[in-house]
C-alpha cells in the first residue's frame, strides 16, 4: 500500500527528449500540463470564435469567465492597473483549476503502470515555479509602474528598519505560495488515493467533490488572490 501510494505521488518519466545531444527527461507532470494547456487553448479558441457584440452561447461562457476574473482582479488591484495583470492572473487561476482537479478527468484506461492524469501541482517543483513566476510579475509590476528607483525605495518603507524584512518578503512570499499550494494538493491527493484503496465504490465520488473539486478550486483561487494582493501592494 505504501509503495502504491509513493508510486502515485512520485513523478514518472514518460519519455526523454533529445535536444542537441542533451538528454532531457520529460515527466508526467509536464505531459499533464501540456494536456491541460491543449484543452485550455482549444477551449479558448473554440469559445471566442466569431465574436459579436450580441453574444451567442459559446461567447457567453467565455464572457462570464473573463468578466469574473476581470472583476476579481479589479477588486484586488484597483481600476487603474487591472488590465495589465488580468490576463496573467486569469491564466494562472484557470490553469490551476484544471491542474488541481485534473484527477477527476482520469478516464484513460490502464493499470498502475500506465499514464494517469494526476495533478501536476502535487510536485514542489511545479508549485515553486508558479510561485516564482508570480513573484516575478510582482517585481515587474513594481518596476514598471514605479520605476527602478521607486521600486528600490519601496524596500525602505515604511521605515528603513524594515529593509531586511522587506527583502525577506520576496523570499517568503513565493515560498508560502508554493508550499501552500503543494501541501494542499498533495494532501488532498494522498487522501483521495487512500480512499480509492479503502473504499473503491461510491465513497470516492462524494469525497472527491470536496478533496478534488472544492479544495482544488479553492487553492487555485487563493493562489491567484494572493498574487493579486502582492501585486497591489507593489503598486501602492
Amino acid at each position: 500500500m505504501g509503495e502504491k501510494l509513493t508510486h502515485a505521488m512520485e513523478p514518472h518519466n514518460v519519455f526523454t527528449m533529445n535536444l542537441f545531444g542533451l538528454k532531457i527527461p520529460v515527466s508526467d507532470l509536464v505531459v499533464t500540463m501540456w494536456v491541460i494547456m491543449a484543452v485550455m487553448i482549444i477551449l479558448a479558441v473554440f469559445l471566442t470564435r466569431k465574436l459579436t457584440l450580441i453574444p451567442n452561447k459559446r461567447q457567453n461562457i467565455a464572457e462570464i469567465v473573463v468578466e469574473f476574473i476581470n472583476n476579481m482582479v479589479k477588486d484586488a488591484i484597483g481600476p487603474h492597473y487591472w488590465k495589465a495583470f488580468a490576463p496573467y492572473l486569469g491564466t494562472v487561476i484557470l490553469f490551476l483549476i484544471f491542474a488541481n482537479t485534473v484527477s477527476i478527468f482520469n478516464i484513460i484506461p490502464g493499470g498502475e503502470e500506465g499514464f494517469k492524469l494526476r495533478p501536476p501541482t502535487r510536485n514542489i517543483n511545479v508549485t515553486l515555479c508558479l510561485a516564482v513566476m508570480s513573484i516575478c510579475v510582482v517585481i515587474y509590476a513594481g518596476i514598471r509602474y514605479k520605476g527602478v528607483g521607486g521600486w528600490l525605495k519601496s524596500f525602505a518603507k515604511p521605515t528603513p528598519v524594515m529593509l531586511p524584512f522587506n527583502i525577506l518578503d520576496y523570499l517568503i512570499k513565493p515560498a508560502s505560495l508554493a508550499l501552500r499550494l503543494f501541501g494542499n494538493i498533495l494532501g488532498a491527493f494522498i487522501v483521495m488515493e487512500l480512499i480509492y484503496m479503502a473504499l473503491p465504490v461510491f465513497a470516492p465520488a462524494f469525497l472527491s467533490l470536496y478533496f478534488d473539486l472544492f479544495d482544488g478550486i479553492l487553492q487555485a483561487y487563493v493562489f491567484m488572490f494572493l498574487t493579486s494582493i502582492y501585486i497591489s501592494e507593489a503598486l501602492e
Binding site: S27, T48, V66
Partner: protein, 161 residues
C-alpha cells in the same frame, strides 16, 4: 515530489509563459476589448436616445409655444375685427338714426307746411264764406252801426283762427 528537478521547473516556466501569451491572445484580450466596445456602444446608444428625447421635448415645447402664439394672434385678430365690426355697426346705426331723424323732421316740416297752407286756405274760405254770409246779412240790414261793428269783429276773429 520534493526532489528538486530543474527540467520540470524550466518546462513549467516555459509552458506557463506560452500559455499566458496564448490565453491573452485568444481569450482575455478579445473578450475584454469586446466587452468594452459593447459598453461604449451601449453608452453611445443611451446618449443618443437621451439626445433624441431632449430634442423631441424641445420640439414639443416649441410647437406648444407656436400654438399659443397662433391662438393669441387669432384672438387679437378676432377682437380687432369684432371692434371694427362694432364700430362700423355703430356708425351705420348712427347714420340710419340721423337719416331717419332727418326724414321725420322733413315729414314734420311738410305736415306743418301743409297745415299752414290748409289753414291759410281755410281762413280764406272762411273769410269768403263770412263775407258771403255777411253780404247776405248786410243786404238784409246793413244800416245799423251795431251790425257793422259785429261784422268787423267776426272777420277779425275769423282771421285770428
Amino acid at each position: 515530489m520534493l526532489e528538486p528537478d530543474r527540467y520540470t521547473f524550466i518546462f513549467v516556466a516555459l509552458n506557463l509563459i506560452i500559455l499566458f501569451l496564448l490565453m491573452r491572445k485568444f481569450l482575455f484580450k478579445p473578450i475584454t476589448n469586446l466587452m468594452e466596445e459593447r459598453k461604449s456602444s451601449i453608452e453611445q446608444g443611451l446618449k443618443d436616445a437621451e439626445n433624441a428625447r431632449t430634442e423631441a421635448a424641445e420640439a414639443h415645447k416649441k410647437y406648444d409655444e407656436q400654438m399659443k402664439n397662433i391662438k393669441l394672434d387669432g384672438d387679437k385678430l378676432l377682437n380687432e375685427l369684432r371692434a371694427k365690426a362694432a364700430r362700423e355697426y355703430d356708425g351705420i346705426v348712427a347714420n340710419a338714426k340721423k337719416d331717419a331723424l332727418a326724414i321725420i323732421q322733413k315729414g314734420h316740416e311738410d305736415v306743418e307746411r301743409e297745415r299752414d297752407e290748409m289753414l291759410k286756405q281755410t281762413k280764406q274760405q272762411i273769410a269768403i264764406l263770412a263775407i258771403a254770409a255777411a253780404t247776405k246779412l248786410v243786404q238784409a240790414n246793413m244800416d245799423t252801426e251795431a251790425n257793422k261793428a259785429m261784422v268787423d269783429k267776426f272777420i277779425d276773429e275769423a282771421g285770428a283762427v
